[in-house]
């Protein structure tokens, strides 16, 4: 028996190259893009709609790509709110990747938007491994998922620089202290920015815009 050294290409290298290509394209077209990740039902779509309202008040044009395993429910919500939107069904995959997003950007009217939100598939596991080439990343959780969400999925929180803890208006009803989530996140990600939001009423949306640098 003997060992042979082989240097096959890192399998993530191509993903990183594709993400870099998306990043370059978005920069060249003057579009500030954000990868919005988060738990299923945490309120990602409504939060994007609220962010979009504020940005449009500032005179910015906003677009959204709705990533979902199936269906066009979120896409219809974006279109209904007057956003420039595209639907991106993964069919089988539990996350978006730079390759799929790159294809979506080929046909997306980038010239019509200043800010683009790419809503990832609801999942706190896999999206962490697949950078899309966006300027920023946001992860959304809500108090209704429990006060242990950060501990249960530490890697995505350790690597994502903005966290929105949503539905804080419901914290008392579900017996969850939002600060437990905030403390866990700060321990994992000392440089991360965390904002408490209630997308329904709009609470925290301005702070979230500031955290994203918008």
């Amino acid at each position: 028996m003997h060992d042979i050294r082989v240097g096959t290409e890192d399998v993530f290298k191509r993903q990183l190259e594709l993400a870099a290509r998306n990043h370059k394209l978005l920069r060249e077209r003057g579009v500030r893009a954000f990868n919005v990740m988060g738990a299923i039902g945490s309120g990602k779509t409504l939060l994007i709609l609220r962010l979009a309202e504020r940005l449009r008040e500032k005179g910015l044009r906003v677009g959204a790509i709705a990533g979902d395993v199936a269906g066009d429910d979120d896409y219809q919500r974006f279109v209904g709110a007057g956003l420039v939107a595209a639907n991106l069904n993964t069919g089988d995959e539990c996350h978006l990747d730079a390759h799929r997003v790159g294809h979506a950007l080929e046909t997306f009217p980038l010239g019509e938007v200043d800010v683009l939100f790419i809503e990832n598939v609801g999942n706190l596991v896999c999206p962490a491994d697949f950078p899309l080439g966006t300027e920023g990343e946001l992860v959304v959780i809500s108090v209704t998922e429990g006060d242990d969400m950060v501990r249960k999925h530490p890697k995505i929180f350790a690597q994502t620089d903005v966290l929105a803890v949503n539905k804080v208006d419901l914290a008392g009803f579900v017996g969850v202290d939002p600060m437990a989530l905030v403390d866990d996140y700060r321990a994992l990600n000392p440089h991360g920015k965390v904002v408490l939001t209630d997308a329904k009423s709009g609470r925290g949306v301005d702070d979230l815009l500031a955290a994203l640098g918008l």
Binding site: H2, V6, V11, C94, D129, P190
Partner: protein
């Protein structure tokens, strides 16, 4: 949850490599470096490898996974090296904290997102 597609990518890369650099004998083990930041199940990756290599010349080869610890580079103080882990601060599990352990500054990840085949163990006495 994407272990199958990643095992497939590893297998494609190795098949291509072996086409250009054939080995004589049977590949018994395939050594893989896996960054600890990746959210991958090693058990699922090994099982995916077992299933995907069935009926190929790599059938029966074992995937040996070598973890790659996170290393960071700090633009502020120039630190390069390993990071702190949450278990050092009273947590029940170890998650790398992606900040500079020396000055506390924001640090860039220099290692820990790898997934690549680095070596093969070959038994030259087997066909």
């Amino acid at each position: 949850m994407h272990e199958y597609s990643l095992a497939h990518a590893l297998l494609d890369g190795l098949t291509e490599h072996l086409r250009a650099h054939p080995v004589s004998g049977r590949v018994k083990a395939v050594h893989v470096r896996k960054g600890e930041l990746l959210v991958l199940s090693e058990e699922a990756l090994r099982e995916a490898w077992r299933i995907l290599t069935e009926g190929t010349s790599l059938a029966g080869s074992e995937l040996r996974i070598e973890p790659v610890p996170v290393a960071v580079r700090c633009p502020a103080c120039g630190y390069e090296g390993p990071v702190r882990y949450t278990d050092e601060e009273g947590w029940h599990f170890a998650v790398p904290v992606l900040a500079c352990p020396r000055c506390g500054g924001r640090a860039d990840v220099a290692a820990g997102r790898d997934l690549a085949i680095v070596a093969l163990s070959v038994d030259e006495d087997l066909p």
